[in-house]
């Protein structure tokens, strides 16, 4: 979906890419991304999945949790096409699609991932469309997820 950036009138320093900073809770998720695995936090007490990773279970308030590998497919729940670069780093990439995806791993508790959707035209977007995760290494620590059509 990317288009060529317009020629800039004067060279400006390239904006830095904003990146997530793994926390104690989210480290296993980011470790998984690096290995091409989709790791989801589960409550060790009641077993319910919770995403994004956080210290306390919203269902039973237990603080014990474990990460399990989850399937990488899902269905589009909603999307937006980002045109205005709220961060200058994304100016060159705009317009780009960000899909909100209901991951197959979610049961009665939704597990949704928001990530760029690549290789799909805007006209082909629809709720329920099957997609799957891809993994883009950015540096030694961080690999970011994206989606492609399944």
């Amino acid at each position: 979906m990317s288009t060529a950036p317009a020629a800039a009138p004067a060279p400006a320093p390239a904006p830095e890419r904003p990146l997530p900073v793994p926390t104690r809770e989210s480290q296993p998720f980011w470790d998984g991304m690096r290995e091409g695995r989709f790791m989801l936090q589960h409550c060790a007490a009641c077993g319910k999945v919770r995403h994004y990773p956080r210290p306390v279970c919203p269902h039973c308030f237990s603080m014990d949790s474990e990460f399990r590998e989850a399937p990488q497919g899902g269905k589009i729940h909603a999307w937006t096409v980002c045109h205005h670069p709220f961060n200058f780093f994304f100016k060159a990439a705009a317009p780009y699609i960000v899909a909100l995806v209901d991951m197959d791993a979610g049961g009665d508790v939704p597990v949704r991932v928001n990530a760029p959707l690549r290789g799909v035209a805007e006209a082909d977007l629809e709720i329920g469309k099957r997609v799957r995760l891809g993994f883009e290494p950015v540096n030694k620590e961080v690999t970011l997820p994206f989606f492609v059509a399944e």
């Binding site: 904003p18 995403h51 994004y52 919203p58 205005h84 939704p110 597990v111 709720i127």
Partner: protein, 245 residues
């Protein structure tokens, strides 16, 4: 995904896909709100806006165009609240608070993980405020709806019971939400055209309407009005006010 425009755009898109809501409906909210702003005069955006100009404005985060987004503005607003008996001898007509409530959506911190993207906190607070006030949607003469985006107005009108879920788009058409319509909304120009004074300007406008001090934007014989507000990402507050006898 950094900005509210991007986060809310996904909910707006879902509403469009599920219910057939269109950019024409969004535009109607923007255009009517601008018309009201011009009547108010104390506003940031004081030039008329047409549906065509709305549709031609640049895309921010699809489906939101520039004129679907509220203004980031500096401004000040204040209200004074007192016990009714202490306020009796004030010069201005009294406006009494009939009902207030606030509600928080499931998964308050993350819009993306909400079981239903379209269930704002107002889903919980609106029934409580109506009950406390002893009135219903049919009793409301004027409504000031938190309009961070055109779409959020459409969805809140559904949640508030002015129409059913999915009918918010058609509801705003045909002059219904303009002055002289069945439910005039955002008679000051709202966050979309007056300015983003965090929604407190909506409380002030409703107070002026019920005091019959709204000038050219006055809703005739306004007796009972409703105002909604947000916090964070869709926390929903509501107040129902009445002009004191």
């Amino acid at each position: 995904m950094f900005a509210p425009a991007q986060l809310y755009a996904q909910g707006a898109r879902r509403h469009m896909e599920l219910y057939g809501t269109t950019a024409r409906h969004f535009a109607e909210v923007a255009v009517v709100t601008r018309r009201h702003a011009i009547l108010n005069g104390n506003v940031v955006m004081n030039k008329p806006l047409t549906v065509e100009e709305h549709h031609a404005s640049r895309m921010i985060s699809d489906p939101f165009r520039l004129f679907d987004c509220s203004l980031e503005s500096d401004g000040g607003a204040a209200i004074v609240i007192s016990r009714a008996e202490r306020a009796r001898d004030l010069k201005n007509p009294l406006v009494t608070i009939l009902g207030v409530a606030e509600g928080h959506p499931e998964s308050p911190a993350s819009i993306a993980q909400r079981p239903d993207l379209l269930e704002f906190g107002l889903v919980k607070s609106a029934p409580r405020a109506y009950e406390m006030a002893g009135v219903g949607p049919k009793d409301i003469d004027v409504a000031e709806i938190y309009d961070c985006f055109t779409f959020t107005v459409i969805r809140q009108l559904e949640i508030l019971g002015f129409c059913k879920t999915g009918e918010g788009g058609p509801f705003v058409m045909d002059g219904r939400i303009g002055l002289g319509g069945a439910l005039p909304i955002n008679t000051h120009g709202g966050l979309l055209s007056q300015g983003h004074v965090v929604g407190l300007n909506h409380v002030i406008e409703l107070t002026r309407q019920l005091r019959r001090e709204a000038g050219k934007a006055q809703v005739k014989d306004a007796e009972v009005g409703l105002v909604t507000g947000y916090g964070d990402m869709g926390d929903g507050s509501i107040a129902i006010l009445r002009r004191a006898a």
